[in-house]
Amino acid sequence: MLYAKKKTGLVFFPAFDWAIDPTHPEREERLLYTQDQVFEEGLFDIEGLTEFKPDPVTINDVNRIHFCVPDAWKVMTESHFISAGGAKTIGMAVLDKKVECGFALVRPPGHHAMRVVHGARGFCNVNIEAIMIEFLRAAYGIGKVAIVDTDCHHGDGTQDIYWHDPNTLFISIHQDGRTLYPGSGFTNELGGPNAVGTTLNIPLPPNTSDEGFLYAIENVVLPILDDFKPDIIINSAGQDNHYSDPITNMNFSARGYAELTSLLQADIAVLEGGYSIEGALPYVNTGIILAMAGLDYSNIREPDYDPDRIRQSSVVTAQIAEIGKIVLENWRNREKIEKQMKQGLKGKYSDRTRRIYYDTDGISEIQKERICICKDCGGALRIETSADTGAQALAVHIPIDACKICRNEGQRWFEEANSKDFHRAYLQNRPEDKYLEKNLSHK
């Protein structure tokens, strides 16, 4: 009999009847072989490993984090409610102390979904980690959260959501954006003026293998986590760094993933991407589950595993050391950088304009974003969004720890929204956990 050293929760929701479309990588078959492996290895028989049935999230859970245009029903399917619910179920099990840590092995994924949602990008509609985290903040009052995104693609959605939040540390390790979707996630992306340094990116060169990943975790991620002292650590556990993944160019192995999991000691892991459904996922997921439970994973091996074939070159090793040095420097100098950034700003706002493309749904969006520069809180945020679907909306976010000035400012923005400029206006009033919407087009 196997006993978990760490009580571990698991939500397994493979959504065997849901796909983006029949031949899309995000399809019914994706976790089929993982299920076979997990069943055959008897992981659900491990004493101390508990499987939970996911409760779907509510509209409020979604609206707490997203501005869905026109509304959540239009941009989500039932599977998204359940997938996010799987993450939430695990989060609750951990905070209720039913288990010490947990893994939401769910699909569809979410880390490319940004705060404003017009449709799907990078196979993601809503950000399942963020929905979970903000629920845990509202229900359990947790404060500092660290998210370590180990998916091969830059977690640009999660980065967007927490760009202005100094209480959420977001670290993404991924294949260099110059060589892979979504093309972002460089070391100079450090967060907004109120939250410099709590966004960090570790872009790794193609063909990085176990050695490089584990180097980055041990020498960059862990020291920063030690510094930040989060209440809870979340791992966005994408599995597409695997050497057999069909849509990326990295050389990570199942055992490497298990070691990463063991080093990171995340409280909650949530599955993101990973599309080598036969050659990688069955073994990677087995490794992650065993590692979370504190069990031996040294005999987990892909059938075609050959460490010599996938070993990284010395050039790659040197590049990773260099990138790590930059990231650590940015982290240590974050207050200095923030000061410099604020000095360059005139007035009490910082503005930026961005173009966002929803590759999965083929939607183009333009955002005009304004944040209140604030010493006391994350700052009130307004986003004017327009998409080529014709939608035009104002989205206002008042952060959970907002100071009085920022609360008033956010409230004013929302109230002043008029039908001349917008079809709809949304307000996320986090301090009051209230989510309002004005339909302006019918007036």
Partner: protein, 564 residues
């Protein structure tokens, strides 16, 4: 006429049924050190003065294999397991002669690493030198491709008396449970075979030349010949007998809770539209987690003879038992004593019961009568609480599709059927303190034996199609066939039904009792590089547990008999 016999811990119940209902019912004491005499004694008594030619069917439910496994007195057998990468197979070690060997098969049944013949041969020699006669062989993913298990048997052919192969025990995936199940089959094989051969011989001598059926843990039967190599299936048939007995009286199209209230435990099960709910994985018995099909049951250590204590302001019932109730000469107070004090049970020594409850009553500062009422109430409450928990657990079982999560069946029982020794005393109060309608099963004293007598033959098949590889396979049934790219789900379902029918008839079903259904029906398009390259189809079908058709009318008559 048919005979049903159920061996219990203290009593063995035997019934004789004909087309008109219950002809005779008897109880004999169970001698756990000599079950053979117990069974023969029961059969001899029930067939006294009956023309043996009139008896068409005998169904036995015994504790033989269960006892051996629980007591840990199993004979030595050899186990050879081929794991490949994954969890260390030594963690699944079942016994002393347990040897992991090389060889590996992946989740789709493809060979990754070959078997090392020399390694297998040398382990075979070692086992033989140690006097091992029975050998279990189990491979990871053998439920997808049994070739390595077969290869190992080929290498060792002639060197052992009997081989037990993992892929024959179940079509379900779970390596560790496959190992445990195969081991139990191999280990109880000699005991089981010897026992039933002796029973059969003895019945033959009495002129009773009928097929012997054996009750399984899933509430179905199989004939003795088919049970020889799968004796593990007969463990824990006792609870199944009771539940099948209850099935006879359950209304159709409703969810029903069944309580079998005994001396030591209360066993619970659930019926949905007259069919018992099955455990999704398999029996757990002692340290063994298995793939043996079984009813979903929950057993709690609360029965008529559980020890009652007053501790920290609360009445505690069980989970231990110290012999009989004080009203029947025991030494510790029990819920039965509470019933005696309350005047509900009369054929016992009420004074002794009062004496038993006295210390508890004085500690609680109430009268003995009040204490009796509180103890009985507490007992009923705890049983109901356990039932609610069981229903909750069933309803919160994870599901893997959006459809099931939204539309999945939720068990919502409104009725309880009660059987077992103290059943009638409990029923009324259970109803009073709950929302349930509670009914005592007619013939509640021998419902278990009736259940055994009337249970139909059940079985299950698992079929797996992989059109990319061109394979259709059900290793458990020794079935493998090549298929073309255009093989469909309908064809798979058809094939599964065919295999199921064959299997059921072979293990003793009669053709009118083949109520078959599909349990799982999944089809996945396999896509490689944005091209659909094949279909992965998984079908699981079963003969539903239930009662035999021919005696359909008997049940109705049984109800009438008990009313009169």
């Amino acid at each position: 006429m048919i005979i049903g016999l159920d061996v219990g811990g203290t009593h063995t119940d035997v019934v004789l049924l004909d087309n008109h209902g219950l002809v005779n019912e008897i109880k004999v004491y169970t001698d756990s050190t000599d079950l053979f005499s117990t069974v023969l004694n029961g059969l001899r008594k029930i067939t006294q003065d009956i023309n043996p030619k009139l008896i068409k069917r005998v169904v036995l439910s015994t504790t033989l294999t269960t006892n051996f496994i629980v007591q840990g007195t199993l004979p030595e057998v050899g186990m050879i397991v081929s794991s490949g990468p994954g969890i260390d197979p030594m963690l699944f070690k079942t016994n002393g002669h347990y040897y992991p060997v090389s060889g590996s098969i992946d989740h789709r049944g493809r060979r990754v690493e070959a078997i090392d013949h020399d390694e297998v041969k040398s382990i075979g020699s070692k086992l033989r030198a140690d006097g091992v006669r029975q050998l279990g062989i189990v491979g990871k993913f053998s439920a997808r491709n049994p070739s390595h298990e077969l290869e190992i048997r080929r290498i060792l052919k002639g060197r052992f008396d009997d081989f037990f192969l993992g892929h024959r025990v179940s079509g379900n995936l779970n390596f560790q449970r496959r190992i445990a199940t195969t081991y139990l089959n191999a280990a109880v094989y000699p005991i089981h075979k010897h026992f039933f051969q002796a029973v059969k011989k003895s019945l033959d001598q009495q002129g009773l030349k009928v097929p012997i059926h054996i009750l399984k843990a899933d509430g179905g039967t199989m004939n003795f010949e088919s049970s020889i190599h799968f004796p593990g299936q007969t463990i824990l048939s006792g609870p199944a007998a009771s539940v099948m007995g209850a099935t006879a009286y359950a209304p159709a199209e409703e969810d029903i809770l069944v309580f079998d209230i005994g001396g030591t435990t209360t066993d619970m099960a659930i019926l949905i539209d007259r069919a018992p709910l099955l455990d999704p994985v398999g029996i757990e018995l002692g340290k063994y987690k298995t793939l043996i099909r079984a009813l979903k049951t929950r057993s709690i250590g609360i029965g008529g003879d559980s020890v009652v204590r007053f501790k920290a302001g609360e009445i505690e019932i069980g989970p231990d038992r110290a012999g009989y109730a004080m009203a029947y000469g025991g030494t510790r107070p029990t819920p039965t004593d509470a019933l005696a004090v309350m005047g509900k049970m009369t054929d016992c020594d009420r004074d002794k019961a009062r004496k038993g409850l006295e210390p508890i009553a004085s500690e609680m500062g109430i009268s003995i009568e009040e204490a009796a009422q509180k103890i009985f109430d507490r007992t009923c409450c705890l049983i109901l609480k356990a039932a609610d928990k069981m229903v909750d657990q069933i309803n919160s079982k994870p599901v893997y599709t959006v459809h099931e999560l939204q539309e999945g069946y939720q068990v919502k029982p409104k009725k309880i059927l009660v059987l077992g020794g103290p059943a009638p005393y409990f029923a009324e109060h259970l109803e009073k303190i709950s929302e349930y309608t509670v009914t005592v099963i007619p013939s509640w004293k021998v419902a278990n034996a009736i259940g055994a007598a009337l249970a139909r033959t059940t079985c299950e098949v698992t079929l797996f199609a992989d059109t990319e590889r061109g394979i259709l396979t059900a290793p458990e049934e020794k079935f493998k066939k090549n298929i073309s790219r255009d093989f469909t789900r309908d064809q798979a379902v058809q094939q599964a039904y065919e295999l199921l029918k064959q299997k059921a008839l072979q293990i003793g079903a009669s053709s009118e009792d083949l109520e078959m259904e599909i349990l799982e029906d999944q089809l996945f398009n396999m896509v490689r590089g944005f091209q659909t390259t094949g279909r992965n189809i998984r079908i699981k079908a079963q003969v539903k547990p239930g009662l035999i058709q021919r005696y359909k009318d008997v049940v109705e008559k049984l109800s009438l008999q008990s009313d009169s």
